[in-house]
Symmetry: C2
């Protein structure tokens, strides 16, 4: 980010880029990623569709920008939820994090689908998405780090195979001091379970078997807190 060059053209460009992004975000929220149309955005903004390409080289680039926005928005929501709970109340923090994730997903289903649904085949996440994408996992890992620091241990696994220890190396090192392999297994398991629940619920796989997904989610999260030794 260069510090606003303040030439009329540069500010106009920044404003129009923002306007396009805002309009795209609105359209995304309404019709979803698949139906997002560059031409429709241009029409909304009263400009030629070709002009949009001066600001975003392709529809994919626009979607990538929206993806970053989604990751950041969700990340901020989860971080805020975690920050709203007393540090020592580990179960309360997990509950808050999980609730924030699910609430955000329900409030922004299309953004969630963009971020965690099926990507377009062959889509390689550009470098500028990995930072924002890491925010939610980082909150979770920090929580586990705090739990470990306060002497807690997960309820199993008692022994972690060497292959698995090596496999988890990167994620264990996200926090200092590094997470124990047992917390790594459990933590990633909880991460998968949380996103799995939200995806299954949001994508319509749960409504036939579970009448009250919110109550069920709460029950599962509490069980995770027990499994993680947070209680």
């Amino acid at each position: 980010m260069p510090t606003a060059p303040s030439t009329a053209r540069a500010t106009a460009r920044a404003e129009l880029t923002r306007a396009i992004l805002d309009n795209a975000s609105t359209q995304l929220a309404e019709v979803g990623p698949a139906a997002l149309s560059v031409r429709a955005i241009a029409r909304d903004l009263g400009m030629a569709s070709s002009a949009v390409y001066r600001y975003f080289p392709s529809r994919d680039a626009l979607l990538t920008a929206l993806l970053v926005e989604a990751y950041d928005d969700l990340g901020a929501a989860v971080e805020a939820a975690d920050a709203g709970v007393r540090r020592g109340d580990l179960r309360g923090r997990l509950r808050a994090i999980a609730r924030a994730l699910r609430s955000w997903a329900i409030a922004h289903p299309h953004q969630y689908a963009l971020a965690y649904g099926s990507p377009v085949p062959g889509y390689a996440a550009p470098q500028d998405t990995v930072g924002p994408a890491r925010r939610v996992p980082l909150v979770l890992i920090s929580l586990l780090g705090d739990a470990q620091q306060s002497g807690r241990r997960p309820r199993g696994p008692d022994r972690v195979p060497a292959a698995e220890k090596a496999a988890l190396a990167p994620v264990l090192a996200f926090v200092d001091p590094p997470l124990s392999p047992a917390y790594g297994v459990r933590g990633l398991g909880v991460w998968s379970a949380l996103f799995g629940h939200v995806s299954l619920e949001l994508f319509g796989h749960m409504h036939r078997g579970v009448l009250d997904p919110e109550a069920h989610f709460a029950a599962v999260v509490d069980q995770h807190a027990v499994d993680l030794g947070l209680t």
Copy 2:
């Protein structure tokens, strides 16, 4: 399914329907659901694109047929895996089921994305998809039913809130005698965790933190077996 009327036209129709579906399936496997093109299928089959609409009223209808196919294929794979293990070896069965799910998803990423990725907004699953979609959950529930019958109990939750008990009513009744609420909570949690892992892995959210997803998956599944009291 009417028993083959054997008129030349009827058999021709059946054959062409099958040919379209096969071609669509191939194309789906290659380019994914988003890029599936009715016109491309017609070109491949040497017919006018309008002719395809005599067999499938819309692209959505074709995708629905492919969706049923995917559910059935995955369901069959999981059922076969479960059937290949001695009934009493509950942990072995869970391992086999989980492995079959993940293997199938990796072998058929686009089919998996069609079934468990983000649906097109407003897509209401037609009635003929719910049967096939239920096959995997049913295998899992049957396994838990067997575990319960043999006197096992999950490691928590010890108490299930009334709201949650009511919420799970439908899924508990899928098997006879009905599943205990505790097994319901745990079972759905495992279901979410399995699909959550596969989705996160397949959609590219795991490769930066986990070097060997297979080893990690195995470790998580084994922990689930413990949590479910299968060991």
